[in-house]
């Protein structure tokens, strides 16, 4: 396997050669000795002023070592020091063994991407050192399990710590985290508070283990406290789940497929608390049809999958279009084609989602850029699916779905909760009665006096099959008119974000999770960022307006062909350059900075 570290490191070497200059950006510290931190320095703008407090911690080990949960505790430590968090989890598609690692990055500002450089490595096995040692930007900042790893830095004698506390092997990671906390000069009170809040079982013993390790390690580099309060940390999938519930979700139906599975797990675990129904049927075809059954009976329902599973849903999607059944489809992309790289990211399914399903029918597609946006837009998608009786997609990817973000949950409440135009009771009820907007009043089976006929065939207003040419034409027009309503509705939403230096003549064009890395790079280079969040109906006029004064448009996508570029070309908008990555790994800030510079040269 080519590790992400290796690929990144190759770019990084190139990057160091190119730029030459260096500035330490470690928070509140003198420049650390040893390997300096390299940051590109140019005339515009002064990087020294935009330099922010930030820290990156990498935890590596085997699958089954609890890397992700250890990462969550470290993320909470940084959260409680006032940092905004992004946590990336990298793992191969297997259950035990292999190399897993997580990078927890904290910054003063909201983030959603990683750097190449690492400030602390917590090594649970030797491979972690071998793979990631070169990313470390200072000496001695390695904390390792002294029983298993040989390295410079400081070893935690995990086995003897556990023995001294009569603690089980599963608590070994608490020793490593305790050691890290001391090395980073994190006050014990913070460690205790975080453990008490976030370790569900045996917290007292875990704390004893952590404390014993804490007392054996020397401070190396202090992670300074930021001013901000701690915020909720949510994965993108959790954010999508909560957003959908806020938008009125009543049932979630899904067949497991990475990287959507953690949404199924989250909602299944929380179903009683949130008052929703969660079903895991036999396959994705059953998933979408079951959802359409739920919708026809009046329940706001979502399905979740990745590209392969969505292939199986495309006939059901077309049915939703024809039968005007509201349904939310969460599609979290991974590297394709076919089975591809199950646990790695990609943005190569946009073209598919835009076009999937036989025939022509309106659809809403939203692609949030981070967890906070995911809470908001998932609620909107759930709400509007019902308002317009259309399928609504929440298009995510592994970076968003399985990444953990700080969420500032203010003003993210939805406008509606799937309210719809109800039948006024005037008989006979006609499920597909025509109207200027194309939206028909809804009634469901069980409604007194209503005969509700849902139909996958071309049908008349009552829902009876028809092959009469004028009726087919009329009903097609009725369905397609909903596009216009949906597009007009989108005008009232922040369907397109213009970020960064809005006066700049160079703009980065992006969608979905790459927005985070683009905004960081744009901040460093003084560029504008244009991010359509709604990809169908595409806010074309707003896109054109946002590009006024832009002389150079650089598209950044994690696919091999530039699918957003192709979409906007249909509207007569051309991108000057494309920066594409399609090896399953998300862009790091440093890599993208280098690539954008090349594109601007």
């Amino acid at each position: 396997m080519i590790g992400v570290g290796l690929v990144k490191y190759n770019y990084w070497e190139y990057f160091v050669r190119l730029t030459g200059d260096n500035i330490p950006d470690f928070p509140g510290e003198d420049p650390p000795s040893g390997i300096p931190i390299y940051i590109p320095v140019t005339a515009e703008p002064d990087i020294r002023r935009t330099c922010m407090k930030e820290v990156s911690v990498l935890i590596g080990g085997k699958a089954g070592d609890g890397i992700n949960s250890a990462g969550s505790v470290v993320a909470q430590l940084l959260n409680h020091l006032g940092y905004r968090i992004y946590m990336y989890f990298d793992y191969p598609s297997l259950i035990r063994g292999g190399h897993n690692f997580t990078v927890i990055r904290g910054s003063e500002q909201a983030i959603g991407s990683c750097r190449n450089t690492i400030d602390f490595i917590l090594a649970l096995n030797q491979e972690t050192i071998a793979r990631h040692r070169d990313r470390l930007n200072a000496e001695h900042a390695v904390i390792f399990n002294a029983d298993l790893v040989k390295s410079d830095g400081q070893g935690v004698p995990v086995k003897s710590v556990l023995e001294a506390e009569h603690a089980p092997g599963i608590m070994g990671n608490s020793a490593i985290i305790g050691g890290f906390a001391r090395a980073a000069s994190i006050e014990w009170e913070t460690v205790e508070a975080v453990f008490r809040a976030h370790i569900p079982k045996g917290v007292d013993l875990n704390l004893k283990v952590a404390r014993r390790a804490y007392d054996q390690i020397q401070p190396v580099r202090k992670i300074s406290r930021c001013d901000s309060p701690a915020l909720p940390l949510l994965s993108g999938n959790e954010a999508i789940g909560l957003g959908m519930v806020r938008g009125g979700l009543e049932a979630y139906i899904s067949y497991p497929m990475t990287p959507s599975s953690s949404l199924l797990h989250f909602l299944a675990e929380q179903q009683e608390r949130l008052g929703i129904t969660v079903v895991h049927p036999e396959n994705e075809i059953a998933v979408i049809l079951m959802a359409l059954g739920f919708a026809s009976a009046g329940k706001r329902t979502a399905v979740g999958t990745s590209g392969g599973g969505f292939c199986l849903m495309s006939e059901g999607l077309s049915f939703a279009g024809m039968a005007e059944l509201p349904v939310v489809l969460v599609v979290s992309q991974r590297t394709g084609p076919s089975t591809g790289l199950p646990t790695y990211t990609g943005q190569s399914d946009l073209r598919f989602i835009l076009n999937a399903g036989q025939g022509e029918f309106p659809r809403l597609i939203v692609a949030p850029g981070d967890a906070q946006e995911a809470v908001f837009w998932s609620a909107v998608a759930t709400d509007l699916a019902w308002k317009f009786q259309v399928p609504a997609f929440i298009l995510a990817d592994k970076t968003l779905s399985e990444g953990t973000y700080s969420v500032n949950d203010v003003a993210t409440g939805p406008r509606g909760h799937g309210e719809f135009l109800p039948w006024d009771g005037a008989a006979p009820y006609r499920r597909y009665s025509d109207s200027p907007s194309g939206v028909s009043p809804l009634a469901f089976p069980g409604t007194k006096g209503a005969v509700v006929k849902v139909n996958s065939y071309a049908h008349d207003e009552a829902g009876i099959t028809t092959e009469e040419a004028p009726m087919v034409e009329k009903m097609t027009g009725k369905r397609l008119r909903k596009w216009d309503g949906l597009a007009a509705e989108m005008d009232t939403y922040p369907a397109l974000n213009v970020l960064g230096n809005t006066a700049a003549s160079t703009a980065l064009l992006c969608w979905g999770s790459t927005r985070c890395v683009c905004t960081e790079v744009a901040a460093q280079l003084g560029l504008k960022v244009v991010q359509p969040v709604v990809l169908s109906p595409l806010p074309v006029e707003r896109l054109k307006t946002s590009l006024r004064g832009v002389e150079r448009l650089i598209a950044v996508e994690e696919n091999a062909t530039g699918q957003l570029v192709a979409l906007i070309e249909r509207e007569g908008i051309r991108a000057d350059k494309k920066i594409l990555r399609y090896d399953g790994r998300p862009f790091t800030v440093d890599e993208l900075l280098l690539k954008v510079r090349e594109a601007m040269a």
Binding site: P232, L233, L274, G275, S296
Partner: protein
């Protein structure tokens, strides 16, 4: 609503002599009876697949969900889970439930979802003009198998018994009174009810002359015995020549999926409170 017109004024397009007429008529009689007994037909949903049988969704003036080919059962499952008060009846074809959507049939039986599945088993694809189905006999000459099929048919009753169905019956479109009893029994049964209904296709498989002398009613059969049900189900394998039993082969009481899935409704305030708790726990 009472005394409703149960048949729509949609022009019927089944062939003269089609077995679907009797099944539709049987259902109409059942619905009329249900209404006379004081049950509202507003609470009944008919789910059909795609094929000749499925046109029944256009012909019966009750709530209907005219689904995709093979996909009656997952839609019916969703409807039942969404509103367990509804009586959900699937009219499905042998192409639908034994070929395209076989997985759903097996899983519905496994889950014991409280729906009634009537398979209009004419053992041929009618609407696509005459190809073999999973229950066509060995050697059946259809348009896709002009030299005769090379594979044995399924025995759907055996398949359903093996999958955990809690009501397994077989009827015949030319024995309407019995069929009515079997379907009513299925609707009354709490759990997954399966009624394989032998039906002639007047155009592509007019098998009445074969069925009529061979069918007999199950009498003195212990439907609570799984072993006896299996023995009776194996008597005719849908291919070789044998007597064809009609009636309820198996029935047992068992908790249903929809009962186990019941969820208490929550107010929006309670829900938002739960979300806030969750966010606090993640801080």
């Amino acid at each position: 609503m009472t005394g409703r017109q149960i048949i729509t004024d949609t022009q019927n397009s089944w062939c003269p002599g089609c077995g679907n007429f009797s099944i539709q008529h049987t259902l109409k009689n059942i619905l009329t009876e249900m209404e006379q007994e004081g049950r509202s037909l507003d609470d009944v949903v008919l789910v059909s697949g795609i094929g000749c049988h499925a046109k029944i969704a256009d012909y019966l003036d009750i709530n209907s969900f005219y689904s995709l080919h093979g996909r009656t059962i997952p839609a019916a499952t969703g409807i039942k889970l969404a509103n367990p008060r509804l009586t959900v009846i699937c009219c499905s074809g042998d192409g639908d439930s034994y070929a395209e959507g076989l997985d759903h049939l097996i899983f519905a039986a496994k889950r014991n979802i409280d729906i009634t599945v009537i398979v209009h088993n004419n053992r041929v694809y009618g609407l696509t003009t005459g190809q073999y189905t999973p229950t066509s006999p060995l050697g059946f000459r259809g348009k896709s198998t002009p030299a005769g099929t090379l594979e044995y048919p399924f025995n759907p009753l055996e398949l359903m018994l093996a999958s955990g169905a809690t009501y397994v019956a077989r009827g015949y479109s030319r024995k309407m009174d019995q069929l009515k009893g079997l379907i009513r029994g299925g609707i009354a049964h709490r759990g997954f009810s399966f009624i394989d209904t032998l039906q002639i296709c007047a155009t592509f498989f007019p098998a009445a002359d074969y069925y009529t002398p061979r069918v007999y009613d199950l009498t003195g059969h212990d439907a609570s015995s799984f072993e006896h049900a299996c023995l009776k189900a194996r008597e005719w394998d849908y291919s070789s020549d044998a007597p064809i039993a009609l009636g309820v082969f198996y029935q047992k009481k068992f908790p249903t999926f929809d009962e186990r899935m019941a969820r208490k409704k929550m107010s929006r305030e309670e829900q938002e409170h739960a979300i806030q708790d969750l966010l606090a726990a993640r801080t």
